[in-house]
């Protein structure tokens, strides 16, 4: 993705003379991320139509060039508004017939991923998914699975346990789990017939881990593609780094005398109690 994106960037930057982000440069609607957060949205694009390298246009301007199936762009800031999104077979746009086209509304403040994919019956289509970017607790990861494959309803299993059930194209389901690596597979809904996997999912802490189930059952090219959205971490809710209270026992070492001195009388009372009470890990 990187080489393709940078090539596109150069082309676009030459005409627009602005920033090097392909997605941003393309649209006149471009806004600098820091300029006015209220009027912009964060948009990424996922390509899940097998066997078709495409150019992506927004309102007639090229947004992405030579976009390969199974890849996803990093989120970029776009002005809120309605975009006419068109996908052309690479090099065929913008005057030819698009492989798929849809007007997509990008609301202010949203974080969205536009997915180009197959419908359940194998026709190219565009779906806009809103990404949940709310914080997760420390140590946790958000896991979202999006069914964008030409395939019937599926169940998603993680660590051998059913995680999502009866997911249909183009639905998604989401949950928050412990961060870490978990083996997962996708089975036909209500069966043990594995459609995809098993595969290890690396669920990153403090992040949205989106997994696209894409491809075509008929063509036997079903696959998983990950997208990671960061910045959702929370801090641990405490740091309990003391034990018995020995460190405040002023006869331990001279340094503690001076140090405890500043702690005040309330603390000193605590010290006396501490020395008689059973130490409790604090």
């Amino acid at each position: 993705m990187t080489s393709r994106t940078s090539r596109t960037s150069r082309t676009l930057a030459a005409s627009a003379g602005a920033c090097a982000l392909a997605l941003g440069v393309a649209a006149p609607a471009l806004a600098a991320p820091a300029a006015d957060g209220d009027d912009t949205a964060m948009v990424s694009v996922f390509h899940g139509v097998p066997g078709l390298t495409v150019d992506v246009y927004a309102n007639g301007d090229e947004l992405l060039g030579d976009f390969e199936p199974g890849t996803v762009t990093d989120p970029q800031s776009l002005d809120a508004g309605t975009y006419d999104i068109q996908l052309f077979e690479a090099g065929q746009g913008p005057d030819g017939t698009p492989a798929v086209e849809k007007k997509i509304e990008v609301p202010a403040g949203a974080n969205a991923t536009i997915a180009a994919h197959l419908s359940a019956d194998g026709k190219p289509r565009l779906t806009a998914f809103v990404n949940d970017v709310s914080k997760v607790d420390a140590g946790k990861a958000r896991l979202t699975v999006r069914h964008v494959a030409a395939a019937p309803a599926v169940d998603v299993r993680a660590g051998g346990q059913p995680l999502f059930k009866g997911l249909e194209n183009p639905e998604e389901d989401t949950t928050v789990v412990d961060a870490g690596t978990v083996p997962a597979d996708v089975v036909l809904a209500g069966t043990d017939t594995v459609a995809i996997g098993p595969a290890d999912l690396d669920l990153k802490e403090g992040a949205g881990n989106v997994v696209y189930a894409w491809g075509s059952a008929a063509d036997k090219n079903l696959a998983l593609a990950p997208q990671t959205l960061g910045g959702m971490e929370s801090v641990p809710n405490g740091v309990d780094a003391g034990g018995s209270g020995a460190a405040v026992a002023s006869n331990s070492s001279d340094q503690w005398v001076a140090w405890a001195a500043a702690a005040g009388t309330a603390a000193l009372a605590g010290v006396l109690v501490a020395r008689r009470a059973a130490g409790r890990r604090g």
């Binding site: 140590g139 802490e205 910045g231 005398v257 405890a260 001195a261 000193l268 006396l272």
Partner: protein, 206 residues
């Protein structure tokens, strides 16, 4: 013995002592400068900003040394407890590295090392030495599969436990090493120590 010490303490006691600020702290208030630099919440950013996709495995820390105060602790990665608190190695001779945040030597964010100030057996922890640390003290973090990351102490602050600045765990902004341990007052019936000692160090050029 305790009585004698108390007397000494009473004499030494100087000035008003707010509960949250016992030791002679120094340096810029870490929270302020870090807060300015920390990333905006809510916004998603391309996961690890410039690094292309994810697998930027940072060299994990193995040992932390502060020669000036004789601190020398092994380091192991830690996460969070069931209750969502930072998990801390039970052995006060061992420090924990918060593995969900940046690693020491990372080009951005606050790498957090934490150690018990003392153990349940009454032994002092290695991180108790942080109470003696002075500005400019050299902190060396030895890493697996990489050279040492070296820092210089710039600030120390004592904060109430429920007031630990969130910037302590920031993952963006200028790189710092943050060393955390517990601090008095010690109130057993309230769970032990009531404050955290936070030492901030900035990278030294290799």
């Amino acid at each position: 013995m305790a009585t004698a010490a108390l007397a000494a303490v009473a004499t030494l006691r100087a000035g008003p002592s707010d509960q949250g600020t016992p030791p002679p702290d120094f340096g810029p208030a870490a929270p302020a400068r870090a807060a300015a630099a920390s990333g905006l919440p809510g916004a998603t950013e391309p996961s690890p900003p410039p690094a292309p996709h994810g697998e930027r495995r940072e060299a994990p820390p193995e040992r932390v040394l502060v020669g000036d105060v004789g601190l020398d602790a092994r380091v192991r990665p830690v996460g969070v407890t069931e209750q969502g608190a930072l998990a801390i190695p039970g052995d006060p001779a061992v420090a924990g590295w918060y593995r969900f945040g940046p690693a020491p030597g990372s080009p951005r964010g606050s790498a957090v090392l934490v150690g018990h100030v003392d153990g349940d057996t009454g032994a002092l922890g290695e991180f108790a030495a942080l109470y003696d640390v002075r500005p400019g003290a050299r902190v060396e973090v030895r890493r697996a599969g990489a050279g040492s990351a070296v820092y210089r102490v710039v600030a120390r602050a004592t904060v109430p436990k429920d007031g630990l600045p969130s910037s302590t765990f920031r993952r963006t902004g200028p790189p710092v090493l943050t060393l955390v341990t517990c601090a008095p007052p010690f109130v057993p019936e309230a769970g032990g120590y009531q404050a955290n000692l936070v030492v901030t160090a900035e990278p030294l050029p290799a």
